[in-house]
Symmetry: D2
């Protein structure tokens, strides 16, 4: 088009500049597919891909909900059965299949010649898999660009690791420190399979902890990631269920080696050039981040304690920075596209 000048858009004289915005650069579109597209993260992912300037959603698979559609503006895609999808037709495949069932499809996809972003927990650090790059770009971009397969992080680990990494890397966390993490998530984190305990009449007006006793499956992922950046700390992680559709807020109490003059400084330094991390003075709120693929982080030094501690807050949209948005961010890196292309910020 532009290069050859043959397309509809030509930059010749006499053009009406008010129409120019509408020149679409539909060059080199990259065919992509989504496996397990009918969950909340899968639907969000389809919606992002349908509006992405360079990725073209070739297929989206679902099991129970095949035949359903997901829409983005005037565009829509219909879910097909996994068996009906031609994996080789896609240059990139996103797997949003349930934990435990994804790994097999990742193998099929790579065998068919596609690169993969896996949103399940199957290939993440701590799950017995080695050598798969972990797709948390703000922690480590190096392995993502060249990878054939990227393990997209869990929602809780995304919020929590982004809050901890700057402190660990800057040597501020005491060796062997006991870090206490409370986090609260909206219900889309539990998926859209019909469950009595997720009915509106059950969740409305309620709030409770779950997975208590430090046994959440995301712990292995967090511990491995912390070890990978040299951290030596013990995590006590307690998730809670919020009566909201989306969003995660994590509140972390972190023992430090010394008091900080400016509690925000480690984060401002670490994330100075990150377009999707917002370091703010006020504690973040879910409303600041929902429908956006960003993490918003704040920190404050608690008063009245007899040892150095930092209170850190980290908020994300569990479906975007915690899942689909980050998956697109990783895919952009893999394909040499601008990292935030098609990622709502």
């Amino acid at each position: 088009m532009l290069l050859g000048g043959s397309g509809e858009a030509t930059a010749s004289g006499g053009i009406d500049p008010s129409r120019m915005y509408y020149y679409a650069f539909v060059v080199n579109t990259i065919p992509v597919g989504v496996l397990g597209a009918s969950g909340y993260a899968g639907r969000e992912l389809c919606s992002l891909l349908m509006q992405h300037p360079r990725f073209n959603l070739a297929f989206a698979t679902a099991k129970d909900q095949r035949g359903d559609e997901v829409k983005a503006g005037s565009r829509h895609v219909e879910f097909v059965d996994g068996a009906a999808a031609d994996l080789s037709s896609a240059a990139l495949i996103f797997s949003a299949l349930p934990h435990g069932t994804s790994r097999e499809w990742v193998d099929r996809a790579t065998a068919a010649g596609a690169r993969v972003v896996d949103l399940s927990a199957d290939l993440r650090p701590g799950n017995g898999t080695k050598g798969i790059p972990y797709g948390l770009p703000e922690l480590d971009r190096s392995g993502i660009a060249g990878a054939d397969v990227v393990a997209n992080p869990g929602c809780y680990p995304t919020a929590i690791l982004l809050a901890l990494a700057p402190l660990i890397r800057q040597g501020l966390v005491a060796a062997g420190a006991q870090i206490v993490i409370n986090a609260s998530s909206g219900v889309t984190g539990a998926g859209n399979a019909p469950r009595r305990d997720m009915l509106f009449a059950e969740v409305s007006g309620d709030y409770r902890a779950y997975g208590v006793g430090n046994c959440h499956r995301h712990l292995a992922e967090m511990r491995s990631s912390i070890a990978a950046i040299g951290g030596d700390a013990s995590l006590l992680f307690t998730p809670h269920l919020l009566p909201v559709a989306r969003g995660i807020l994590a509140t972390l109490a972190v023992p430090l080696v010394r008091d900080l003059a400016n509690p925000l400084r480690p984060f401002l330094e670490a994330y100075a050039n990150e377009p999707l991390i917002e370091v703010v003075a006020e504690p973040p709120s879910l409303r600041d981040v929902v429908h956006r693929s960003v993490a918003r982080i704040s920190a404050v030094a608690p008063s009245g304690l007899d040892r150095p501690m930092l209170l850190v807050f980290s908020a994300i949209d569990n479906l975007l920075k915690g899942a689909a948005g980050q998956a697109v961010q990783n895919a952009n890196i893999m394909f040499g596209l601008p990292e935030t292309m098609g990622v709502p910020s």
Copy 2:
């Protein structure tokens, strides 16, 4: 039977047993008043008092909302201006006035000959006042019965102290331990004064921390109470705002001196005979406790840590066990009535 003391109702004589329930014992009713009745706690209190078998709500005062009514079934009471209330007409006055303005009215009420339950923070431990019994009966009933003035605890302290006291008293908390407390409250905790940040459109779908940095005014109350029972621990307390009308859930990470074979045991022992404390195996949920003046407590030993820790959960209705219900419980004790009379459990 009553007169003859036989102790059981019998359907002898020509009496119609189906009507028996309707004999009302309207003897010795005790006239009570409520100051600052138009807030959420005040309204809840009026509602309880209008249904109480022995207290008779003589007046309820309000400022901006005078003329308004609160109803309970077919009964209702109209708010009058504070100046219009005859304090001496009440044997007992509840003050639900705002913090800072209550103390003056407590003095007026006692001068008028009334006993007082003060729901404000003005007379609570840690606020520079000494000798006023603290109305958390499950911790210490001794001073309440004979008191002329009782300081009704704050909502957060109620939930948190009931979770900590058994551990402290049984010597299970390490000296100088750093206890990390995250708590989340429904919006009625913020009162019903018109505020933009409490509008439905602002709170719906949101969740955030507030009063961060260990500076919440309830901290002094908690520290004093812990010291009073011999505790030597440091508290890091972070409150959060939930998009629900009522309820508080506190999640506490408590360093222990040793691991516990049964994490529930300290609570089962301490509260074996308490009618308004429920010790449960599953982490409590707001729905378990709202509209009830109880505290529901659970505990679990977290796995994977290298030191003894206990995770404790405590849930209450902030307007009942955290305010109005506890106020009635205290009033019952003060007047020699059964402690749970008219207290919804």
Copy 3:
């Protein structure tokens, strides 16, 4: 006094008046059972019965959720399989079984000698059944007291018939009038079976009509009941689903034969002595009626029209006046007890 029939309690003798309230009249308790107790209406019903002064909940059955419990204060009942319930052990059986499956159990219960309140639609007017009294006491109490089986009304019909009956009976509705009824219900009206479209993440923030096109199964029930009181009107009924747990609000546009000087008058006259109907000047709100077994009704004459119309509002709690509360009200009538005994108002 009781035995002697003096009719008032006196605090003579050595009795401690402060304890008097606690004499329980546990005479002649009536054993009752609940079939299909695990739904929202069934659970609410169990909760009411466990606190009822005269009914004693002997058993409660459930299928999928057997083994579950429902609690009311310190009391609780465990759901058993229907086959395990001894129907003959109950003087009264409530059936909260699903529509279509209830009739068979009603027959078994009556064969076992029990009287029945059927909360399903199976025996209601318009469903091909004749001679079963319709349990909307404010419309017609006559047949209920002596009945062996009572058909408890649907939630929408309760709200709507209470709004229409006074107008019809007083001859105010034009013959052949087209009445337009919009009603909105909380999600408990849809039951607690797991359904994707009832998940919190689906219902939160949403509102929509359903069963559109005048095809709701409650229409036959309403039409029969209106015909039974001499009405000759056409109903256009559109239900909507609200993002709230409980409550129904119906808004009715009713063509009248003439303008009314006082739009409330027909209702004030019809319901002057009804303890569970509240006729009010302001349009009722769900919050006015939830957790109460009452109907709150208001009416206003719309301005700017060229024909006589009345706008009527009717609000109930779908689980109480629309189901379980009304079932207890009917049961009280059947057993000669005070009509509001154990019915929250």
Copy 4:
């Protein structure tokens, strides 16, 4: 830029096509201002304008909330006092001032040489103003393009007129028909001024009618608009308040001159080429339309009636198609831009 080839973007060979999307056509940006920007509609409008390809937000004014900011991604604008805004610096001014105070500022803005989209009710039909084009493009685009001032429709009228106009224009509504309209709106329709009755604790779980008796100020606007397209019908309009942040659903019962073989046909024909109107088979839901500037309309012929009636459903986002989105749509038309430019669909 492109035309002169001097800019950063040149379409020479060797270019990396993956970067092409990022050529920005920042030509001929049009400076715009927003008056009364701190309300919900004003904030939404600022957010849209900050992301609009051709409009450039030069200033946004507010009174109580001046100094506040509204953000869209990495961009933000600070509210200034109205007196501080240079009206002549804008080619287009949006007024989102309160009803009654807007007209004066519209005059000032036009005197300063700016064109105006007025979101208040001040200049809408039925309010005594003549000759101001009504900005509901799907009804009549003719006057908008050349107008200096456009009256942006109210939220309820937008939903309702889009549902009625096709029926009226196609002669399907009986002369003198009594149309019954029930509509429900999210709380942002009430603005963000602090009000006790709009607190989360008041609205949560509630639903009620307001402005009852056919006296809502939007009625004049609807009646005038209907008369303008030749309608002769009587409206009975009852608004309700929903416990959701945003969205309006209107349910209309419309007497027709005859039954329709296909109830959707009038709408499919009228809106065949409208990019922002969605005619659908299923009754629309708020979730279908929130965060989108579209109207979704459905219709069904009710069964069991003895006269021709149509039930029509119309759903919009009150802040987008009902306010800010439609304002941008009108502005696009006024300035010869593509009608949906920067309008989320």
